[in-house]
């Protein structure tokens, strides 16, 4: 057994998931590749969205992958950090907006 749950070198083995379920694995990678192609959004914009989501999902593999992908596309560190703040803002907003539910409940029970 490896000493930690996450090994950075495992990212290189991602493609191997097809070995235990070829059809589903291949369909996933085909879909994945298609999603990141240039479309109504540029591949660069998609890369920044992926970086922000990688952080909200707290996926270390995705963070490594989309930081490198961003650098390859000429994305600056300022752009990367702003994208992460967008993710963080939604995360914290999603927490705080539930405060309304708490307020509703307080008002109902103790208003």
């Amino acid at each position: 057994m490896s000493k930690t749950y996450y090994d950075p070198a495992d990212l290189r083995k991602f493609g191997k998931i097809t070995e235990w379920s070829e059809e589903l694995g291949n369909k996933f990678f085909e879909y994945y590749g298609k999603v990141f192609e240039e479309g109504a959004l540029s591949a660069r914009e998609k890369s920044l969205i992926a970086l922000a989501v990688a952080h909200t999902e707290q996926c270390p593999y995705c963070i490594d992958a989309y930081t490198k992908d961003g650098l390859q596309r000429g994305v600056t560190k300022e752009e990367m950090m702003e994208a992460i703040h967008v993710g963080a803002a939604i995360k914290s907003g999603a927490t705080l907006v539930h405060g309304v539910q708490m307020m509703n409940k307080v008002n109902k029970l103790d208003g």
Binding site: R12, S42, A43, R44, K68, L71, Q72, R73, G74, T76
Partner: protein, 354 residues
């Protein structure tokens, strides 16, 4: 003024100043234990081994390793301390050969080629031969480094030189990180001066192309997208125009190899290169139509092999004994650094190849 980013490996007396050491690293470890295939095995999978030289199209001449900059990733290990400079005698031998070959492109590189004391004489002589494309790889800052270089834009224009210049990014921070403090501002001034004499303008015959190579341990992105981003940013921020952007992959040799090892990125970088291997790029890899001439007149398959001291596999080893029949069809000398030219859309001194 610009500040030197680092020192040459030679000046630092680094182990890697020894090219045998570099070749040893590129052949050992992950390539010796079978974790990754060697370049030879990889191209053999698609029956592309051995790579053979086609008729010569591009003669690339390294007129010396002296440079006013010491960029972090320089594959030449160039710098102000490097005294290897091409003599006029060797230049004359090259001129004699250029007249007899079918090469359509002459490509001067360095170091900073303009620092060779015979640079202007050579350009004047060579431009009379009538090659179709006469390139000078200028680092831009040299144009502003000293009064004696201020007239270079006019000199280039007079001889219809195709100027190709390095620009790692459209932002100051990323450019200076790789090339030294102050390099970005000085490069911008130089580009504006080149624009002012007509270089890089949309309908101008005075060609100005930029070379982008990544500032760290990652591969270049899509060349066309990068060109769009560069053009937009340089125009909006500085009113600068240029023709094409060449996206070039950093090869794992010399100072870039040193950087990869020191930053513990070597293995990941080699994995990235091998994973991005593209057999289509092998078809058009530049060593098959190019010859690289060193400052002392020796012949190499490419500038990278020159820096690794891997001479051509031919009896014709020096420009003074240049023989087309001995060089055409020769087997190209390869090692694992060659993966740098076959990753993704491929990489060459003229940008992508696939």
């Amino acid at each position: 003024m610009t500040k030197l980013k680092t020192q040459s490996l030679k000046k630092r007396q680094s182990d890697l100043a020894n090219t045998n050491k570099q070749l040893e690293i590129l052949s050992n470890g992950i390539f010796a234990n079978g974790e990754l295939p060697t370049f030879k095995d990889k191209i053999a999978e698609t029956n592309q081994f051995p790579l053979k030289a086609k008729p010569l199209e591009i003669l690339q001449i390294n007129v010396g390793y002296m440079c006013n900059q010491v960029c972090e990733h320089c594959h030449v290990d160039a710098g102000p301390d490097r005294k290897e400079i091409m003599t006029r005698e060797t230049m004359q031998q090259i001129l004699d050969v250029v007249k007899t070959t079918g090469a359509h492109t002459l490509d001067l590189t360095g170091g900073a080629p303009e620092m060779n004391p015979n640079f202007r004489w050579f350009v004047e002589e060579a431009s009379q031969i009538g090659v179709k494309d006469f390139i000078v790889r200028s680092n831009l800052t040299i144009i502003r480094a000293n009064k004696k270089y201020y007239d270079l834009p006019e000199f280039f224009k007079k001889h219809n030189i195709h100027v190709v210049s390095s620009m790692p990014h459209w932002t100051r921070g990323k450019t200076d990180k790789q090339r030294g403090e102050g390099v970005f501002d000085m490069s911008i001034k130089a580009l504006q001066e080149l624009n002012a004499v007509g270089y890089g303008m949309p309908d101008s015959n005075l060609k100005l192309d930029l070379v982008y190579n990544p500032s760290g341990a990652f591969l270049p992105g899509d060349q066309a997208s990068m060109e769009k981003d560069f053009k937009k940013a340089l125009m909006e921020d500085f009113g600068i125009q240029f023709h094409n952007l060449f996206a070039i992959t950093n090869l794992p040799i010399s100072r870039f190899l040193d950087y990869l090892i020191a930053s513990e990125n070597y293995e990941d970088y080699m994995y990235s290169l091998v994973e991005a291997y593209n057999p289509m790029a092998v078809e058009n890899v530049m060593c098959t139509n190019t010859l690289s001439v060193s400052w002392d007149g020796y012949l190499f398959d490419c500038d990278f092999n020159q820096m690794l001291d891997l001479p051509v596999n031919s009896k014709s080893k020096h420009i003074s004994e240049y023989k087309t029949e001995l060089l055409e069809g020769r087997n190209i000398v390869i090692s694992q650094h060659c993966y740098g030219c076959t990753a993704g859309a491929g990489s060459s001194c003229q940008g992508t190849v696939a």
